[in-house]
Symmetry: C2
Subunit: 237 residues, 2 copies
């Protein structure tokens, strides 16, 4: 147990936050399988803290994206958010803090080692524990610190949307038309010499057309043009 205590002290240094109630931090590392195998008392596993931390993290990321991506619409912010708040990303932050070595697991789980899913859950549980131990605002400041250190160590920008899938204009246009009008955009193309003449319509209204040697690229360009020029605004539903 001395080793576990050392780890918890190191962790608190690494996240720049000292717990008033260490039981909360301990709970954040307690997997269901450990409670079941090793304890007769009603020791609590981390799942309730994870529930809390998940939503604290969600609102932290929402606030960051709101201020960093000042010109982006709600739909784009939502997409970036789900590309950042997911198991893989959270597990990689968790591993940077060496959470995997502190998780209390049952025998079977211990032999296999914690999965990314468990590490990500524990990271959320730690954030939930901070919000209970102090407040949401303190949890936000701690997240600023953790992510700042993560960025330095990995030489990356965490809140970075340079992710093609996030900004695929054809998908974005489709989602917008589904959301607003419950229809898909219709693309019509005809061969025009070596090139394709492609148009896009929504609810029977032709929004724009252009030519390109690639039909696929033409569709992407059209979607981008419609989004950038807010062409959906002219459609009444």
């Amino acid at each position: 147990m001395f080793k576990a205590q050392d780890s918890l002290i190191t962790l608190q240094k690494n996240i720049n936050y000292t717990f008033k109630n260490l039981d909360l931090l301990f709970q954040a590392f307690t997997h269901r399988s450990f409670v079941h195998e090793y304890t007769r008392e009603k020791l609590r596993n981390y799942e309730r803290l994870e529930f809390l931390g998940d939503s604290v993290l969600g609102s932290y990321v929402a606030l960051k994206l709101y201020s960093i991506f000042d010109e982006e619409k709600e739909g784009v912010l939502s997409k970036i958010k789900s590309s950042l708040v997911n198991e893989t990303k959270l597990a990689s932050i968790g591993k940077g803090l060496e959470l995997q070595s502190m998780i209390l697991l049952g025998k079977g789980e211990l032999a296999l080692g914690p999965t990314d899913s468990v590490i990500s859950d524990v990271f959320e549980a730690v954030i939930g524990a901070i919000s209970l131990d102090a407040s949401n605002d303190v949890a936000f400041k701690t997240l600023d610190y953790i992510i700042g250190e993560f960025e330095k160590k990995n030489e990356i920008t965490f809140f970075d949307a340079n992710n093609a899938s996030v900004f695929d204009p054809k998908t974005t246009l489709q989602e917008e038309t589904m959301r607003r009008f419950k229809v898909l955009p219709e693309y019509l193309s005809s061969k025009n010499g070596e090139e394709f003449l492609v148009s896009v319509s929504v609810c029977g209204v032709k929004l724009h057309e252009l030519t390109n040697i690639s039909k696929k690229r033409a569709m992407k360009e059209l979607a981008k043009y419609c989004l950038e020029n807010n062409l959906l605004e002219q459609i009444k539903n």
Copy 2:
């Protein structure tokens, strides 16, 4: 515009929060259709604030449920959360604050009046605006006040799980077995005189059996028994 200003003053009294930056509050009431029809400048609609407010509200409700339902598992908390944070519930709070009379809509939307969906969005946007104008913790305190007043006015308890669908044990057991083992519970029944003898197994392990004159009620009772006695813990996956 004087009338609109009066409304905003009244609203700030009713939510017990005074904005430093009134532009944010104004933006929270600005529907996309209004921006499109009435303004040439890049006036902003409420959608980005709604994105923010949605997650602030989510973490507020998560924190409340965590402390009120002290003994409930994460799965139950998640269910209560989605039964509370939805369009109908949020629109009813919004109507209590008379938000519907302050929303800036385009001509078409104005003729129809704001839908529950729009009122709910605006309520979220107002919460998002408070978190930006002050902080998350202040938004939480404001929500405490708003919900307290809502409860008094309607003589209800907002964070109340007396909602049968939330606690349907058969659905809950099924969700638990799917989540943990990716299988459904198997119910086997045989007629036993006037009654049914029904058993439930998960992953081939028989967890419990009982008799009841109603097969349906027997299944519900079985699921409840398994959940209350943590019988899933004995199954290895």
